[in-house]
Amino acid sequence: MKKEPVKVKEVPAQARIKDFSEVILGYSESEALQEAGRCLQCKNPTCISGCPVGIDIKRFIYHITQKDYKNAYLTIREKNNFPSICGRVCPAEYQCRKACVLTKKGSPYASEQAIWINFLERFAGDYGMNNNIPLPAEKQESFSKASVAVVGSGPAGLCCAGELGRLGAKVTIFESLHKTGGVLRYGIPPFRLPRSILDNEIESLQKSGVEIKANVIVGKTKLLKELQDEYSSVFLGLGAGVPGFLKIPGENLCNIYSANEFLTRVNLMSAYKFPEFHTPVSIGRHMIVIGGGNTAMDAARCALRLQVGRGFKPDTSILYRRTEAEMPARRLEIEHAKEEGINFQLLIQPVAFIGDENGFVKKLKCLKCQLAEPDASGRRRPVAIEGSEFEIDCDVAIIAVGLEANQVLTRATPEIKTDKYKDVIVDQQTMETSVKGVFAGGDIVGGEGTVIEAMGMAKKASVSIADYLKNK
């Protein structure tokens, strides 16, 4: 008999929109055992190929079935430094779960029946974190004199620092903001990744000997050259933090935010706790988020929670030019957003913002769209329908249409070669940049990607950095 997937417990939508605490509660031990028991332990597992860092999924799930949670945790840690984070934010339905043999062939994302690998990873990760399970020492004498500067404390930087720290290198992370975590802190809201989890993971990195210096903007506070003089090697995990805009009339009206600004105010600066925290954020009666990615979902779900907190009737919409099927967001997050009451307005293209006499946005002028043949991205291209113009009420707009490379360092350091997208060019085999001994990974190399993809690149770079240090 086919066993049914174990549904993970969640806080009911009407309760969870009242605050920013975690939505998914995770598996209990018995639920984890039951879900792990569904794994077929395939002779030739396909799931592993779906993981950007190649976690031995079959083996860690096997350990769970044996109640050997310690070894489940250690199995994941062989490949992934942050299982508690990835178990929460990985788009598993497009990665390992999609590759699971239980997903129907040809499905664009994981089937319901696919093993909930991400929730099992989270279970094992949290077990390891809560029980302070130490990793087997790997310290190598040859690295004891080596020092590495890691620029950026987002997923790529943290991962690279963790890997090299384990080998015994002296690692220092430089972060430009006052808090560490990069996009994990300023971008991903606490209801998807609680701050305690992030803080714990970063603290354990520090306990393992990695030093973190916040408020240091490399390229400004310290120049790359200064780091090269002080350290044996440098890793750049600069991220894609520059917001894209729509480039339509009225976009600079008041209360029109980039998703980055809105999320930074809410997540990094805790504007949802204003005035206890001093950074304000505008809360509208008709909040519109433009875009169909995870950032759009995060922004919309934050916006709705702010409205509820303020006592407004929830009225937050996501506007997207295509249909739900083409949305790049995680299926899970689309479902969460819908459950919470986000209004999905599809096949709509914004054409202009209209403001009042004080310069505040009041309305959004739009066109209806239909889908034509697929474009370069493989998704069906939206085409505006002539004469279909209409207006909707909008007193706060949040633009979530993609991010570009952070350029503070590369602008100040022209010897680091970049491509037309201002992404750093690396040797694909070694992740080394145009400057010897300086490596890069994460969104600054591949453009906007996922947390685990960034970690995959950082891991690859850390192997090259280790080689570089040995030969130096």
């Binding site: 506070t221 520059v242 204003f274 005035p275 310069g359 952070n406």
Partner: protein, 275 residues
Amino acid sequence: MKILDKLVLSESAGVKVVRMEIYHPDIARNAGPGQFIAFMVSEKGERVPLTIVDKDLNKGTITLIFQEAGLTTRLLAKLNVGDSLYSLAGPLGHPTEIKKYGKAIMVGGGVGIAEIYPVARALKEAGNYVVSVLGARTRELLILETEMKKISDEFYVMTDDGSYGKKGFTTDALAELLKKDKYGLVYCVGPLPMMKRVSDLTKDFKVKTIVSLNALMVDATGMCGCCRVTVGNSIKFSCVDGPDFDAHLIDWDELSKRSKVYQEQEKHICKLSNI
């Protein structure tokens, strides 16, 4: 990030202008004229930008001068020698382009005088003839008079109430100067309405005019776009593209509206904090 020195430069109607010298050798080493920092007073605080007025490489310090305006600057003014800021990052933005312009007029209004000072000094050192026009509401609010005088070839003070220098606005003195002579540059920092009036005036005289904008910012490193401003029909970020811009190309009306987005929240939080 430790405060090594603090001095109240002026006080009027309970509003102070304060000078602070803060220890941060890295910022001091890499800072150029016209660049700024972003600071936080506490973990719960806002990130607020301030121009770097001076630096001392021997002591490893930078000097900030600010007027108590919103909650954050008031909280900053309450800190004392020995206290540390929660966060301090910089130097941010591009330094002002320092070259030989010939004759340059420096226009500073209120606390904006502190912001033109490092640029005026650098222009003087680069061999320019520096004419300074300083404006203040009243005599007590005039800051850095001695310092500015020292680096100026000509020096004028305007006060709104006539309590010092000449009665009138900086634009009055500026118009007189522009009528009489040719200038290679006007550099101006002050309240937005003043910068706009200066810009309108110098546009008529076709004199290149640079202003340093003090837009609202969050991260101040190009990641949020809070400080976006329309310059010559394209969107620029004050933090990474500025803070200096060609005054004649700025959409002043939009900038002025954008500067008031959080006025209500600011009033609310100041009232709650009894400050």
